[in-house]
């Protein structure tokens, strides 16, 4: 299994850890109902200036509704949305300092590329000469100078995506909203564009809010991610924290691949946590400080790449170890993913990096193997 790319540490930028930092965008107890359906439930969130923020979740989790409320296309049923401390509720989209890049791009089919980019500037009443130079600047930014006179249907998907981006950036919005901006591109182009978006955001020094259901995309581009489910935010953290320290089974399972082993807390506190997993027969020990009572239900979450797989028994087979039999092997090129079947019938996944060219597998089907891990390889979750 390819571990999702962890967002690169680009700079010491973490205003969310600074209690004196003023939020740029703030959702305060926002609720949105459509009839009986509650799309967003009493949600509060702070986003900081120059941040690249991602809203991540499955379809129907409320992430798009949240973004549309910031853009002004939907009004919250309750609560307020502040931008630089000013409440946006009641201001129509055409008077908001935000611009949105739509999932379908929403390019005006009867206008040329240049006219599409100039549209917002014309509405703002910018002088003609300034519009021209700004359009040229935007075309250069997205490398589409040669296509200014083309109509949208005369462009490829990637080029349309660039026009949509240029159009939404032309007015220098305070916040750029990106609604699944790369969903229609093929994988390779999508990955390239993700890095271009990051560079763009950093160079322009703008605040970007992206909505996506693609966890790799969110982890690549964003400074922070909010994982949403059923109208609430489950966790807000940096990509690395989300991946390494998920706060719940939902987040752990949604981001990347993970093994969840059910158990009961045997001891908890300053010294570490001990979990007795009756179903798999394992005893898990971590360095984590957990606040839970003895006997509470808990889950041990560990990523497949943090499991070691070996034919030899470990020194202490009673702790942080599981014995099983290789059931399936998936060869992905860079890594191989092993499905190890435990005596209880449960399956645990472990990955091995294929550091050398694969001639003969050191561990093969039906081999008896041991899975081991270190004390800080996984996390114990109580919800």
């Amino acid at each position: 299994m390819v571990g999702p790319a962890i967002g690169p540490v680009r700079r010491a930028f973490a205003p969310w850890n600074d209690p004196s930092a003023k939020p740029f965008i703030e959702f305060r107890n926002v609720t949105k109902r459509f009839g009986d359906f509650v799309a967003v439930k009493d949600l509060s969130l702070k986003i900081y200036e120059r941040e690249f923020f991602a809203l991540l979740g499955p379809s129907g989790c409320g992430k798009t509704t949240l973004m549309r409320m910031l853009g002004g296309f939907d009004e919250p049923t309750e609560g307020s949305i502040l931008l630089e401390g000013k409440d946006l509720v009641g201001i129509p989209p055409y008077r908001r300092p935000t611009n949105m890049m739509f999932q379908s791009y929403a390019l005006f089919p009867h206008m040329t590329v240049a006219d599409n980019i100039a549209f917002g500037l014309k509405q703002a009443g910018m002088p003609k000469a300034d519009i021209q130079s700004r359009v040229d600047e935007m075309l250069a930014l997205v490398k589409l100078e040669k296509f200014a006179r083309r109509k949208p249907h005369q462009l490829s998907g990637g080029q349309r995506q660039r026009v949509a981006l240029a159009r939404s950036l032309a007015k220098k919005p305070k916040v750029l909203l990106l609604d699944e901006p790369l969903g229609a591109l093929d994988k390779k182009l999508r990955e390239e564009t993700q890095f271009e978006l990051m560079d763009l955001q950093m160079n322009l020094g703008m605040t970007f809010l992206i909505v996506t259901h693609d966890q790799e995309e969110a982890m690549t581009v964003a400074d922070r991610i909010a994982v949403m489910n059923n109208g609430v935010i489950v966790q807000v953290a940096t990509p690395a924290e989300i991946y390494e320290q998920p706060n719940s089974r939902y987040v752990a399972d949604f981001i990347g691949d993970i093994n969840l082993i059910e158990g009961k807390v045997a001891s908890a506190g300053e010294g570490g946590t001990r979990l007795a997993c009756a179903a798999t027969g394992a005893t898990v020990e971590t360095n984590q400080t957990l606040t839970a009572a003895i006997g509470d239900e808990a889950w041990f979450a560990i990523r497949p790449e943090k499991m070691r797989i070996s034919r030899d028994a470990p020194a202490d087979p009673a702790v942080n170890a599981l014995a099983g039999e290789v059931w399936d092997i998936g060869y992905l090129g860079d890594v191989s993913i092993y499905h190890v079947r435990l005596p209880t019938g449960a399956t645990v996944k472990a990955t091995i990096t294929n550091a050398t060219r694969l001639v003969e597998r050191p561990i093969s089907w039906e081999d008896k193997v041991w899975l081991t891990w270190s004390r800080d390889a996984g996390v114990v979750l109580t919800r």
Binding site: G71, G72, F73, P92, P93, Y94, R95, T98, N99, M100, F102, Q103, S104, A106, L107, F108, P109, H110, F119, G120, Q123, A124, K151, H153, Q154, L155, S156, Q159, R167, S168, K171
Partner: protein, 272 residues
Amino acid sequence: MRKGQSWFNTTSVALGFAFLYAPIVILVIYSFNDSKLVTVWGGFSTRWYVELLNDQAMLDAAWITLRLALLSATMATILGTLAAITMVRFGRFLGRSLFSGMIYAPLVMPDVITGLSLLLLFVSIDIDRGFWTVTLAHTTLTMCFVAVVVQSRLVVFDRSLEEAALDLGCPPFKTFFVITLPLILPAVVAGWMLAFTLSLDDLVIASFTTGPGATTLPMKIFSQVKFGVTPEINAISTILITIVAIGVIAASLFNKRREVERQKAERLAMQG
């Protein structure tokens, strides 16, 4: 598909065409008949066309019909488009079913009923019947056709285009004119043409709602037929058919050219 053409297919196509076009072809041929009798061929002549040019009553009727069709089609297009927008965009509102029922009623109502009810209305509110009452009647009749055509286009209209315009600072009213209307224009034009054609050939409703001095061409032709058909009727029909045929051919050529251009553009886009 040449191979698949059996004698059965050929025959059915021939019969189909004959059924559809034989009356028209005969009508056109006999418009050049020298004889005064429609059914007896008396040699080639264009005398009925000359006679038509001198028939002031017929020309007046044609002029009235044309003005009426232009005016009522335009009014029906404006009202029908507004009705379609209301139906598609305003979601559920009080009286929506009643509204849609009223809009589509003329679509299924027999012309006689529509005509009669309009006549009763005009009589009861004591309007002088004439050009304007027929115009109103035709607007009522053809508006529903425009609404149907425009509505089907609006249903598939990508609303994010309008949202994008709003997002870029364009107020809703202006958005309608710079984004929505240009994009639904083909449907609006199609609706207008449909309304124009319907008004052009309506006999029943016009007969009910007209008054002195506003005799339309279909009414004029129909009344002449009652006194016996002269090839003059054939001549004016031939002219009408020619106008309609030119319109249809022009429209299909225009569509074909657009299709070719679209394919060319797509090839261009593929090349990058």
